[in-house]
């Protein structure tokens, strides 16, 4: 069956630009998570959705980062005024319900020049 998909796989942008990263979770999964993975590090939690609402956005580094999931399925992570320090792999995961194993997508590699 189809797993978690993320688009684009790679994104190169210039400092100060706006970017959107998309995540398509596994069909029927109500929980969706965004993580960020810097080189040589493990993933760091950003935000968790249960259905359409962001149940926990405590991992978002600042107000330049925002995520939505308007219909409880696809999610978009939005980054305004990108900075070089935002360069990382952004991973999305989904699970059937909370407290289940999280299935990860392949990630979007964001490079801010």
């Amino acid at each position: 069956g189809a797993g978690v998909s993320q688009t684009p796989s790679n994104k190169v942008t210039e400092k100060g630009k706006y970017v959107e990263l998309r995540c398509d979770p596994i069909s029927g999964h109500t929980a969706l998570y965004w993580y960020r993975q810097s080189l040589g590090q493990g993933p760091e939690f950003l935000i968790y959705f249960q259905g359409t609402g962001a149940a926990d956005d405590s991992g978002l580094p600042n107000d330049r980062f925002f995520a939505v999931r308007p219909e409880g399925s696809v999610s978009t992570l939005k980054i305004q005024r990108t900075e070089r320090g935002d360069s990382a792999v952004y991973l999305c995961a989904s699970s059937l319900v909370q407290h289940n194993e999280q299935f990860f997508g392949p990630g979007t590699r964001l490079t801010v020049l």
Partner: protein, 112 residues
């Protein structure tokens, strides 16, 4: 900041050898997850441990969570080149049931 310590950071073994990777926390863990990651790919779920003393196996991989729930080990028996990759431990440190904190990973190379 990383709150889970993984050791070793990297490991090179000859095909057929056994190996162990450790994951240690200074605090009690509510759940411990092992994932495998290959370069440019997402994380592949291996196992989840929740109870102190719990042990799970899948094919040639066995994971254990100690009684105090502060350390886990991942053991691979008779390693194969297909086992190569980065092994990450992730933990639910707050009892949230969703927010995972990960270690930096252990890079495993298996030479044929």
């Amino acid at each position: 900041s990383q709150e889970l310590e993984q050791s070793p950071q990297s490991l090179i073994v000859q095909e057929g050898k056994n190996l162990t990777i450790n994951c240690t926390s200074s605090k009690t863990l509510y759940g411990l997850y092992w994932y495998k990651q290959k370069y440019g790919e997402g994380l592949i779920f291996l196992m989840m441990l929740q109870k102190g003393g719990e042990e799970k196996s899948h094919e040639k991989i066995t994971a254990k969570l100690d009684e105090k729930k502060q350390q886990s080990s991942l053991h691979i028996t008779a390693s194969q080149p297909s086992h190569a990759g980065i092994y990450l431990c992730g933990a639910d440190k707050s009892g949230s049931n969703y927010k995972l904190t990960f270690g930096k990973g252990t890079l495993l190379t298996v030479n044929p």
